[in-house]
Amino acid sequence: MAATEQTIKQVNKLGNSDYKYGFSTDVDDIKPPKGLNEDIVKYISAQKNEPEWMLDWRLKAFSVFNKMPKPDWAKLDIPDIDFQDYYYYSSPKSLKDKPKSLDEIDPEILKTYEKLGIPIKEQEKLAGVAVDVVFDSVSVATTYKKQLSELGIIFCSISEATKNHPELVKKYLGSVIPIADHSFAALNSAVFTDGSFVYIPEGVRCPVELSTYFRINAMNTGQFERTLIIADKNSYVSYLEGCTAPMRDESQLHAANVELVTLENAEIKYSTVQNWYPGDSEGKGGIYNFVTKRGACRGNNSKISWTQVETGSAITWKYPSCILQGDNSKGEFYSVAITNNRQQADTGTKMIHIGKNTSSKIISKGISAGKANNTYRGLVNIQSKASNSRNFTQCDSLLIGNECGAHTVPYIESSNSDSMVEHEATTSKINEEQLFYCMQRGLNSEDAVGLIVNGFCKEVLQHLPMEFAVEAQKLVAISLEGSVG
């Protein structure tokens, strides 16, 4: 049997039973009724004991959302979403009184994290990673807070930040992604439940990787996190985000907003590994992932770098972007997107060059298998004042089998003649001869595919922090394996 053919077969075998993270935890939820209306917005705000200004902000966003059409330009087959059919708030009951330490956390929840491979207790001990965990809507535990606070670093849930650091939240929330940006941004602003907040003060280099794991647990819960990261002058932070969700028959909606701000000479490195439930092999269930991630390089010489490995979700619609406002600022986007079975991904980036001497780099690797569709959609916009700016874009697509698709849609807009934009794109099929060679050395066809695809993605994976890179490599292999053994 041809190695590719075999791979296709294995890939096709990928039923929902193969989703390693498809278990759900039995905890009592507290939920208001299904549906989206002003009362729910008020309910969420009240649950979080939010100040008046935050409730007003939410209500404004909600009225904007009601007036907006859904975006429809992405190359995705999006089933109509009935916004009234979701729960907008879900909080495990035992968290009503927020735990003071990990010992107070429902052991069921801790077990869930262990199954996910992130034992919090272990991670607490293991130097180097501070974890802020979001379980459905409430931030469960934040570790390392003390060490970080000695450096003046704020790392907490966005709800806490609203209470304890209102001046920072008021100043920056919605400053990168305005409420009216598009309908999912407005929806998120109205009903966001939790997420992370990071502030790195001037001159501080954050000594550990900050990390959040998101997990959607409760059935039919739309999860709307809101993350805000601010790197003040001359500071640096590396932030990791990992996501997993249990499998369900009904699709779950996820519309996160992530805002990053770098001031002069500051740098944020934001890495994501996303393996949310992709739905079964017929495309049933799975997460609809409509994420808005945007960073503003406000200060001169500042830098924002996005690295993402996207292997999950039924539908992914995501364009981490950089607004290069400061002179000499830099934006980078490194992406691996893998789609299998009936997954659809429409992902890419937007690089908006506003300041002088700004530069951006885009490396995108798309892998499609099964009947999946994978689209890179990227915008490079060089504005008239962005003299002497540069962009380099490279998009490579790899196809496994004959029924999948890869599309590259670059939009290049330059209103500046002394700037330079370079775009390279390739599409290839997985090489049978390479597979044969690997298998002649004893690798089974799954391992051979995993090895070759990881090699294909190396330029991106090497930008992930060490401990994440290893996990990502395994994930790349697993998501193409279909079934192991």
Binding site: Y437, R441, K458
Partner: protein, 248 residues
């Protein structure tokens, strides 16, 4: 070890192997010589289980098993190794990582745990040194931007690390300068023992001065037309393929 009987193989309707018989016992080295296009690479690919060939007739017994029942990776893990005439480049995959993955695949097949990191480091270092492969080389992507000679040495390194029972060397000598030829041959000779076997495919008698075969076979139009000992290689060098095939 390997017993091929009346093998008929075609590609895309074109007959390539035409009633080939070849029997190799444990501990033997066989040389297979023949002109371009006579079917040497086809035989080695077919034995390794490459896709795209049609077998019309024949049987292949490998250590008491029907070779054709085994998948490509199973054949490899059961000790069948092919040193490729044109080794593949695998971009983004570090050579040493590839070697470790191959070793561990074989160990897994035989129910052994993964090789210890330190043990692997020692093993690869000593083996590479013997083949005059620099440690630097092992950190590069597999075969990417290797010279022709470096690729061939890499094949022999993989062979010595995997320690196969049955090795097929497909024109490993072509493209090698005299020093590389000596190093590669020494590598092969070091592996030779009473339990393993080699099928050395070559155009030239030159290689056989270094790797002394027990038997020499001449292939033409997909079948073996003459077999003998080392002296047949010398005779071939003198008379050429056409003459020899005629007297067969």
């Amino acid at each position: 070890m390997l017993n091929i009987k009346d093998l008929h193989v075609s590609i895309e309707g074109k007959k390539i192997l035409n009633g080939l018989n070849l029997s190799i016992n444990k501990g033997e080295v066989h040389a297979l010589m023949g002109p371009n296009g006579s079917g040497k690479s086809t035989l080695s690919y077919f034995l390794s289980g490459k896709d795209g060939y049609e077998m019309e007739r024949g049987s292949i017994d490998y250590n008491g098993k029907n070779l054709l029942d085994l998948e490509v990776d199973e054949r490899a893990n059961e000790g069948l190794f092919l040193a490729f005439q044109y080794p593949m480049e695998i971009p983004g995959v570090q050579t040493s990582f590839f070697l470790k993955t191959a070793i561990n695949s074989k160990r897994k097949h035989h129910g052994l745990p993964e090789i210890d990191a330190l043990e692997f480091a020692k093993l690869i270092k000593s083996q590479a040194q013997e083949l005059d492969i620099s440690p630097d080389m092992l950190r590069r992507d597999l075969n990417v931007n290797y010279s022709g000679g470096e690729k061939k040495k890499q094949e022999i390194l993989q062979m010595s690390l995997l320690n196969p029972a049955m090795s097929i060397l497909d024109e490993t000598d072509s493209g090698l300068d005299i020093d590389a030829l000596r190093i590669v041959s020494e590598g092969v000779n070091k592996l030779r023992n009473k339990d393993n076997s080699f099928l050395v495919i070559t155009h030239y008698q030159r290689l056989l001065n270094y790797i002394k075969p027990d038997y020499v076979h001449i292939i033409a139009d997909g079948k073996i037309v003459k077999s003998g000992d080392f002296s047949l290689a010398l005779e071939l060098e003198e008379k050429g393929y056409e003459e020899i095939s005629k007297t067969a």
